[in-house]
């Protein structure tokens, strides 16, 4: 009887897995050799944790979304790795960012996880909390691997409760993109590291103008960044330090988000939601109708390609109670279920270390977290075109913060943002919005 029950549960599970994996979109770029189906991960159990004996060939599977639109970039990293480690073969599968985490979770559930998986910061905590990732501290320690080649914050952002779950492969941080022409016209100095909130507001007011006198603002001084920015600037955070409760009802949090709401709308310096519905802040900046725009390095290339009528640069985002900005990033991690951890670790080191990072940086994919690569290759790749002050991207890493490392972060941000949307429209007050948000956030955290 018990057996039968187990059998039923098991078959139901298998069916579910089958259905789920059928739902997962098939990769539209199958590996060139075409043997992507039916391949079983190295069944050789005794390879285990031991480094693969030299001469014995082993294969690891790597699933990645890095530079998906330029697949030769990550293929180049793999090629260089295989050249350096001739006895480790890499099966690289490129999956678009929009699908990779669903696909990975499905594969983990089906016991078919790749040995190495690419992650972005936002998904790391959730996937680590599910137990899918191998803690890396022992590998780092036993190898004596030097983590100081990376910017500290880019390493720290993949630690959950002090445990390193991934190795940083790229980072990006938000800085203030400025339209120099609009500053020149208004006779203003460009923003410096010393700028505080009042400087932002007064410059923003001078730059927000109705140039054709029809009663509608034509150029805006500033555009709002993602909401947690204004918590960080005011020394607040979304969750309490231990991540166990909502911290949005603290005075600092309310004040910070009130400042955000006050920046836009009637008499503000930033476009309201209605204005943005008519033209996005991204398009406004490119059209020369936005003076200060907080955005990450992903803006550099498109702005260089599209902006011809004015000079632009980047600067530090003005401080609130403190300097702050966002730190985002991508990383490589190892599946806890990998049968080939020694080889996977070699790949992690190589692909995120100076050699692999250099190739990715030459492919212009975000910014390398390896200091020497970022400060040489990244900066030199930008030479001759804006932003002149590209070093700000590196300087800002020091004070950059990442969104909370909660496994429930996507749920939390989905709970908070709709309330803030209502506050931004003016339907409810900021206090009310945050009180509502905290009810949801705490109920998420209690589960």
């Amino acid at each position: 009887m018990k057996h039968k029950k187990m059998l039923i549960i098991l078959s139901a599970l298998m069916i579910l897995t089958l259905v789920l994996s059928a739902c997962a979109p098939s990769p539209n770029n199958a590996p060139a050799d075409g043997n992507q189906t039916g391949d079983v991960v190295e069944p050789d159990a005794d390879v285990g944790e031991e480094p693969a004996p030299s001469g014995e060939e082993t294969t690891i599977k790597v699933m990645s979304f890095f530079a998906y639109d330029n697949p030769e970039v990550e293929a180049g990293v793999v090629e260089a790795f295989e050249a350096a480690y001739p006895n480790i073969k890499v099966e690289l599968e490129m999956v678009p960012f929009s699908d990779i985490f669903t696909k990975y979770k499905t594969l983990v559930a089906g016991g078919e996880a790749p040995d190495v998986i690419s992650l972005n910061f936002e998904n790391t905590a959730q996937i680590a909390a599910l137990g899918a990732l191998e803690p890396l501290d022992d590998y780092i320690a036993s190898d004596g691997y030097d983590m100081s080649v990376y910017y500290d914050n880019t390493v720290e952002m993949y630690q959950m409760d002090g445990v390193q779950f991934a190795m940083p492969a790229t980072f990006s941080d938000v800085v203030l993109f400025i339209n120099k022409a609009l500053f020149d016209e208004a006779g203003l100095e460009y923003p410096t590291l010393d700028w505080g909130w009042d400087d932002l507001v007064s410059a923003g007011e001078a730059l927000t103008q109705d140039t054709d006198g029809d009663g509608v603002v034509d150029t805006f001084g500033y555009a709002l960044a993602w909401w947690p920015m204004y918590l960080f600037l005011n020394g607040a955070d979304v969750l309490t330090d231990d991540g166990s409760a909502c911290a949005l009802e603290t005075p600092a949090a309310i004040e910070g988000l009130q400042k955000m709401v006050d920046l836009q709308g009637e008499g503000g310096i930033a476009p309201s939601r209605g204005d943005l519905a008519a033209q996005s802040d991204w398009d406004m900046f490119m059209a020369g109708k936005l003076a200060m725009y907080p955005v990450g390095p992903w803006g550099v290339q498109p702005f260089n390609d599209n902006i011809t009528s004015f000079e632009w640069d980047i600067a530090h985002h003005p401080a609130g109670a403190q300097h702050a900005t966002f730190l985002f990033g991508n990383a490589y991690a190892m599946s806890a279920s990998s049968n080939n951890k020694a080889a996977a670790w070699e790949f992690l080191k190589f692909a995120t270390g100076p050699a692999g990072s250099q190739i990715r940086q030459e492919g212009k994919y975000e910014i390398s977290p390896v200091k020497e690569v970022a400060e040489s290759e990244f900066l030199s790749s930008l030479a001759g075109a804006p932003p002149e002050n590209a070093i700000v991207f590196m300087e800002a890493v020091d004070y950059a913060k990442n969104p909370p490392k909660s496994p429930y972060w996507s749920e939390i941000s989905d709970a908070v943002w709709p309330e803030l949307e209502l506050a931004l429209i003016g339907n409810i007050s900021v206090e009310e919005a945050l009180a509502n948000a905290c009810i949801s956030v705490n109920s998420i955290l209690e589960q």
């Binding site: 259905v19 209605g274 519905a277 996507s410 989905d414 949307e421 589960q447």
Partner: protein, 308 residues
């Protein structure tokens, strides 16, 4: 002789049984593929989901039994309340439109007009179009800045509307796209029903001096009421389960204004990996649909033709 007969009788009836069994086994064999498919893809998952709804399960780690916690949580979850409210509003707006508009259309296309097959095909096209394609087209049409609809409004001197960006309007936009998509299917059902209405009844009504409107309300409507009944039931079920347009067009935003139960279930289960809570919400939806359908079924005698 007697004995022989005695022996023969059961043998004969046995053969007869055998024959009937042989005949019916073919029936079973014929329904087996469908039955297996339904078992594997419907019945087992439905039963399985009920088990899942009693657990805390992330898909990736082993489920833990939590009893009715997930059901209790529905009542404590403020977002679930918003979701249920949105779903009810959505249903109340879309179901009447999905009955009235196709009915008018069917009556119009039941006349003898030129190019009838062309019109019928046109109205049916959205039904066979992929929902992603429909969503993409409407994302363009309803875009606040570049959308066809707003461009049109501006020509007539009206203010552009945030069809998918204004929390007061977005749900209505989803309703309109839903109605447009389902127009053809409901129209075909109504057309079939209309063509079943005997012509001579209209002739009799003409003799009695009934005008077109009287004929429509006192003759046509009652006679096609089984079709209306069918479409109300399936329409409510359909709108309770609405998912794809929201998934493709708004992700439940802005400010949760288009967060429907079907989408919220998906988000809980496959985005947040709360399979247990997602399954509990799905069961809530199941019972809501069951209840409403039973309710409709029980009052059908009062108005559906042929059920009295």
């Amino acid at each position: 002789m007697d004995k022989a007969l005695h022996q023969r009788l059961p043998a004969k009836s046995k053969r007869k049984n055998n024959y009937r069994w042989k005949e019916s086994i073919w029936g079973y064999i014929f329904i087996l593929p469908n039955f297996l498919l339904m078992l594997v893809f419907t019945l087992i998952p439905v039963i399985f989901a009920f088990g899942v709804s009693m657990t805390d399960w992330s898909l990736l780690s082993a489920p833990t039994f939590v009893g009715l916690d997930n059901y209790v949580r529905i009542f404590q979850d403020p977002v679930a309340k918003i979701t249920i409210k949105n779903t009810l509003v959505f249903t109340a707006m879309s179901v009447p439109l999905r009955i009235v508009l196709p009915l008018l259309l069917a009556v119009a296309l039941n006349q003898k007009i030129r190019g009838l097959p062309f019109y019928r095909t046109c109205y049916y096209l959205p039904v066979i179009s992929a929902s992603v394609a429909v969503s993409m087209v409407f994302l363009w049409i309803l875009d606040t800045n570049f959308g066809l609809l707003n461009r049109f409004l501006v020509i007539f001197g009206l203010d552009p509307v945030g069809w998918l960006t204004d929390p007061d309007v977005a749900l209505l936009s989803i309703v309109l796209v839903t109605v447009w998509r389902g127009l053809g299917f409901n129209m075909i059902i109504f057309l079939a029903a209309l063509q079943d209405v005997p012509e001579d009844l209209y002739a009799v009504a003409d003799i009695d001096g009934a005008n077109a409107i009287q004929k429509f309300f006192h003759l046509t409507i009652p006679l096609i009421s089984p079709a209306i009944f069918f479409l109300i039931i399936t329409g409510i079920i359909d709108s309770f389960q609405s998912f794809d347009l929201v998934y493709n067009m708004t992700n439940g935003g802005p400010a949760r204004s288009t967060l429907l139960l079907g989408y919220y279930i998906w988000r809980q289960a496959f985005d947040y990996l709360r399979m247990g809570y997602g399954a509990a919400l799905a069961y809530l939806l199941f019972f809501a649909i069951l209840l409403i359908t039973i309710l409709q079924w029980s009052v059908r005698k009062r108005w559906v033709f042929g059920e009295q």
